[in-house]
């Protein structure tokens, strides 16, 4: 077997995915019309799988801020924060994030993926341990590998399972990072954060919360699950690529040690810093998130409308209403076929096939935006209603 032979299985899957028409992993958006509409395959399509929770990608203040930064600071930094790529706007964004969370220290990264890898790899290493929720995002598993720490998995959202495992680690528990997410990206369920935080504290471990899907979505001020459940985490990580509509990631913390991560985090040190225009649109979007709580209210109204509408069709959904609405399909083949029919009907959503879904099932995953109109939500529900029933 040579180096390239292992790709034959991937090629077979790609052929299978493409057989029904459009390959779900290779959809080309020809033109973006708005935060919720695009042209795909010559057809005007409602985008209901974008993670664009607050719909800020076409916000006028964000676009103007990005254009100004492009004109004033150029297209890119061409270097790391450790070298020539450390701009005043990076430090300003860090200061604004720290202030927003009420934590003294903040650090930004070039992507959300790098934020998880960079924080984890700086924080834990050989001899330390990571206790990871079983349904955690791939980037958190990758961060575990990069760190060199021993990685253990506990049952999803199960404080008792975490307690038992921390107990088994004995003295090593105090050198353990417990990692959970605020809102889980596939099923849209929240972590029982208060209980998990209590267990973590009992064992002297450290709590890391990934708020990628909950920033701007949960909490009175949009700070995420830590705000909603009044928990102080040791490290809060998030991304700019969802509610804030740009790219990049961050970590905030009450621990001064975060300021030293800059010298220990390879995903921070050995990559170019975020572009000035990206930093500018992120800062403008964060200001919008703070100033316009009505965006969050509209998001939740839309999320509840979609969840209830799909529920009334008798579809099997994720455990609770949220801006991530997962529809369980009976088989991989049916999921693929139904995804195709929805796209042909002018609705784009995400197809989740095993092993990406937590219980190995196949899902049609919708994500809702504050920018969706009532008519668009109705159209999404109607498109699901038109799908053939199993056995038809």
């Amino acid at each position: 077997m040579n180096l390239l032979d292992k790709f034959s299985a991937v090629a077979a899957t790609r052929t299978e995915l493409a057989a029904a028409g459009t390959n779900p992993t290779d959809v080309v958006v020809d033109q973006v019309l708005s935060p919720t509409e695009s042209m795909i395959g010559g057809q005007r399509t409602i985008m209901a799988g974008t993670n664009n929770y607050l719909g800020l990608t076409f916000d006028e203040t964000c676009i103007a801020a990005g254009q100004r930064a492009l004109a004033e600071s150029g297209t890119g930094t061409t270097g790391s924060r450790m070298a020539n790529g450390n701009y005043a706007s990076h430090a300003e964004l860090e200061r604004e994030l720290a202030e927003f969370y009420g934590y003294p220290y903040a650090m930004i990264f070039s992507t959300g993926y790098a934020a998880n890898l960079g924080t984890m790899a700086a924080l834990v290493g050989s001899g330390d341990a990571i206790m990871l929720d079983g349904d955690a995002h791939a980037s958190l598993f990758d961060g575990g590998k990069l760190s060199g720490a021993s990685v253990y998995r506990f049952k999803h959202n199960d404080p008792e399972s975490l307690d038992k495992r921390l107990n088994r680690l004995g003295d090593q528990a105090s050198r353990t990072l417990v990692i959970v997410e605020g809102l889980y990206s596939i099923m849209g369920d929240r972590a029982p954060l208060k209980e998990l935080a209590d267990v973590t504290k009992k064992h002297g471990a450290y709590l890391f919360v990934d708020e990628a899907h909950s920033l701007g979505v949960l909490g009175e001020h949009g700070r995420g699950l830590i705000e909603e459940q009044e928990v102080e985490a040791d490290f809060v990580v998030g991304t700019f690529s969802k509610s804030l509509g740009s790219t990049g990631g961050f970590c905030v913390s009450p621990h001064e040690a975060l300021t030293l991560f800059r010298y220990a985090s390879r995903p921070y040190m050995f990559t170019a810093s975020p572009c000035p225009s990206v930093v500018a649109t992120t800062r403008a979007a964060l200001a919008q998130l703070k100033a316009r709580p009505e965006l969050r209210e509209t998001l939740w109204r839309n999320a509840n409308k979609l969840y209830n509408g799909l529920s009334q069709l008798g579809l099997q959904l994720g455990p609770e209403p949220s801006p991530v609405v997962a529809v369980k399909m009976e088989s991989r083949e049916r999921a693929l076929a139904m995804w195709q029919l929805l796209l042909e009907d002018g609705v784009y959503i995400n197809l989740i096939l095993p092993p990406a879904a937590p219980d190995g099932s196949s899902l049609l995953r919708c994500s809702v935006s504050a920018a969706h109109t009532d008519a668009q939500i109705d159209k999404i529900i109607e498109a699901f209603r038109r799908l053939p029933r199993p056995g038809d």
């Binding site: 079983g134 575990g144 021993s150 990685v151 253990y152 998995r153 088994r168 092993p355 190995g360």
Partner: protein, 90 residues
């Protein structure tokens, strides 16, 4: 006289029998699972099922098995050795 090696083998056989019992929850129908069975290629278990099985194994023996140790395990026999070593550490 029973040698140390024989005790160890007997211990391993007991663990393998218990593992087969725990594995049954992940199999669509009852089947013979010899110790050298490859959990992935022979049983066609999805990674999700392997993870659930491992959580059951950890809870049954009250041990912790790291993901990097898990990555080296292909057969029930190898898993039994890891379980045995983890129990010895405690």
């Amino acid at each position: 006289m029973v040698t140390l090696r024989e005790v160890s083998l007997s211990d391993n056989n007991t663990i393998i029998a218990e593992l087969v019992g725990l594995l049954a929850a992940q199999l669509p129908e009852p089947r013979e699972v010899p110790p050298e069975t490859d959990l992935i290629s022979d049983l066609a278990l999805e990674s999700v099922q392997i993870m659930e099985f491992m959580v059951d194994v950890e809870d049954h023996y009250d041990i912790a098995i790291s993901l990097e140790a898990l990555a080296e395990i292909r057969t029930l026999e190898q898993l039994a050795q890891v379980v045995s070593q983890a129990r010895d550490k405690q």
